[in-house]
Amino acid sequence: GQQVMQIPQYQHVQEGEDFTTYCNSSTTLSNIQWYKQRPGGHPVFLIQLVKSGEVKKQKRLTFQFGEAKKNSSLHITATQTTDVGTYFCAGVSLGDKLIFGTGTRLQVFP
């Protein structure tokens, strides 16, 4: 069946360093969503990407959707301790099925 793989599983960074998580689908996606889950919290929607090659920015966060619409990335510039949490991508298949990636847990050391 369709899979959405996310790497890395864990990432520890020093505050101020950059961070990137990658999301890869086995099939073409109609769109992709990104969520953030703080420790002890619930997933919160960050952004949705729809177009091939789309790049969107939210302050220090940059989201990219691949040209083939099979992969995506989230890049955080100059991480802060408030960025701590697990970042999930969720790909939407052409059959309108939403599949979550396994998530990347980010730890930021001050």
Partner: protein, 114 residues
Amino acid sequence: DVKVTQSSRYLVKRTGEKVFLECVQDMDHENMFWYRQDPGLGLRLIYFSYDVKMKEKGDIPEGYSVSREKKERFSLILESASTNQTSMYLCASSLWGQGGSPLHFGNGTRLTVT
């Protein structure tokens, strides 16, 4: 702002018990979802509903059932709880169907089955 409320934050039940997890949303969303979250496995869809009294199986429906008698309320039922159903359960709602619009999650219910 959308609010999705799950009735219990923590729940401890015994093997074989019937368990009800309740979820209410206040934004008149058509679509509601139940996920379970386990370390290393991400979020897996159990059931979803796109209208009152309508339900669709997700990826892991075995051992679960659901009820949607009113638009704002979506219940997850474990007919006979087992230890492998120990997990975090997350309810969500959305304006449109799967992937059509953002999911709004509740705070989750951490269920332990002993």
